[in-house]
Amino acid sequence: MAVTTKKAKTKEPKTKITWKEIKRQKVLLFWSAVFVVYGFIFYYLPLGGWVMAFQKYKPKDGFLHSAFVGLSNFTQLFSDKSFLRVVRNTLAMGAINLVLTFVTAIAFAILLNEIKSKAGKKTVQTISYLPHFLSWIIVTGILHDALSGSGIINEILMKLNILDQPLNFFAYPKYFWWIVGFANVWKETGWNAIIYLSAITAIDPCLYEASAIDGAGRWARIKHITLPGIKSTIMILLLMNIGNVLNAGFEVQYLLGNGLIQSVSQTIDIYVLKWGISQSDYSLGTAAGIFKSVVSIILIVIVNQIAKRTGDESLF
């Protein structure tokens, strides 16, 4: 009676483009055309602004009259050791955040689902996503306080005799990336788990009952029903977030960074703020933006191909 909740991923024959088929799908085609027009206007048209990256753009001259400088903005970026360093930082933090937030969000969703009491489930879930609504200013303020010399983390560590004097976590580059990762997990786990919880509800409860009859324990149930049940959601989110790895942030790193650790704390966006926007140099910011987009798309295409090969969900 195994009602699968997924389509069988066998290679489906591609539907041939014939007039008959077009007429049959005319509703679909009409609306997709409408959406394409919308998308073109709002998402693709502004890309004309990318021309700023090849100019020395000044707002008063506009796109048409600003001086053309070819690739010099890009060469300026890539020859700046500072920029390469921030790319490294952004990638590192992006990767760490990706892994941490994924694992914690999924684990949390699954564990939450295993709570029997409905009221308990609801309460925990409501509380879990509350930090998402706090601004980073507040969260980093609390985090900074907790990690300071007189803060609670140091207190605990000293009581447990792991440290014999307070450690200033923000003075050492090696901790920073993990602190940022933890901050993201703290703030976003509950919120990120919402999607997975919603996906879990889509799993046919009959499957669970059937497995209970077959004698499957909790762990087996999770492994064989819950996880496969939300696999497609996990895959899609993973694919989309891999593309975002260079958007690892601005606010957190800006608020938590300081002079001593700036070599690891600065991200591409902070670099753009310092060298681009604050200098009224919009061209540099656009060039960095193009760089990020290109990398993201390359990553997406690669990962998408891999996903297709393994027969799983793919983005396109």
Binding site: Q25, G49, E114, V139, P205
Partner: protein, 304 residues
């Protein structure tokens, strides 16, 4: 019918001890998690009820040291807050509806097995997630479309979001083709299938996307600032509150500029009160949506 009450008991006993252990561990974990997650919120709440000058000293954890309602008064008497609230509620409702309808329809189209251009259309939208023209080009586009200085700039540009669309699409993939096919055999067109058959089964994901969209609209202020900066009537709640928080961090300013802006420092406690005020409505919204996150809604009625 009495037959339903016959429960198969025997095998259950074998798993009860590891099962109980799991439950205990899970409960402990959840408690710890709740404490860690709740702490920043309670801390903010405590600071919001604490006197501003006293809050400067730090050292407030879970309970206010000098109780006062002054911070809330300061926030609530802010100019234009009511207008901002109306606009925000308006954009949240209208924006979420627009968003849900369009994303759902697009997801539906793209998830139809026989749709001729589904790969291309998906690609078209996926790319939009990773490319951005930049602040100024987008601003100029909206200006040329006459969207600036209006309410519509809030709900029209961001209507279709590839992210939300893909989430819905993934969900729709999970609905068996047999439903669509049997409906088509009965003579239903695509729109009917979308509205009457697929959508009712998508309630959990619709609720999710509605939540994301609503929260996005509720929290946004940057667009209000960019496109409606000087306007009194189209300001949003968050933008008004954000104005209260100005001067707290200022990126890249110079000391000489800041010294003249000194009287603008807003106490931490007012910041905290503003945060709580913003959070409250969303927290109240969630229970309404929670009833859609219920198991078993999807595959009801499938006879295989």
């Amino acid at each position: 019918m009495k037959q339903k009450e016959l429960k198969v008991r025997p095998k259950k006993n074998k798993t009860s001890i590891p099962d109980k252990l799991f439950t205990v561990c899970n409960t402990i974990f959840m408690l710890v998690f709740v404490v860690i997650t709740l702490y920043p919120v309670l801390n903010t709440l405590a600071i919001s009820f604490n006197n501003g000058t006293d809050a400067l000293r730090g050292g407030i954890y879970l309970w206010p040291r000098q109780w006062t309602l002054q911070n809330y008064k300061t926030v609530l008497q802010k100019n234009n807050l009511i207008t901002g609230a109306y606009v925000t509620v308006g954009r949240t409702v209208i924006g979420t509806v627009f968003s849900l309808v369009t994303n759902a329809l697009l997801a539906f189209i793209v998830s139809r097995k026989r749709f001729l251009f589904k790969a291309q259309l998906s690609l078209f939208w996926v790319i939009t997630m990773y490319v951005n023209g930049g602040l100024i080009p987008v601003f100029m586009l909206y200006k040329n479309l006459n969207l600036t200085n209006t309410f519509w700039v809030y709900v029209i540009p961001g209507m279709i979001s590839a992210f939300n669309m893909l989430v819905i699409r993934t969900y729709m993939y999970g609905i068996p083709d047999s439903l669509e096919e049997s409906a088509q055999l009965d003579g239903a067109g695509y729109m009917t299938i979308f509205i009457k058959i697929i959508s009712p089964l998508c309630k959990p994901v619709y609720a999710t996307v509605a939540l994301f969209s609503a929260v996005g609209h509720w929290n946004s202020w940057f667009d209000a600032m960019l496109y409606n900066r000087m306007s009194n009537q189209y300001t949003t709640l968050q933008y008004e509150l954000m104005k209260l928080l100005s001067s707290v961090t200022n990126q890249g300013a110079s000391a000489e500029t800041m010294k003249n802006a000194v009287s603008a420092v807003t106490p931490t406690s007012v910041r905290a009160a503003a945060t709580i005020i913003t959070m409250l409505p969303i927290v109240c919204l969630y229970p309404f949506l929670q009833r859609y996150f219920v198991a078993g809604l999807t595959i009801g009625g499938v006879k295989e």
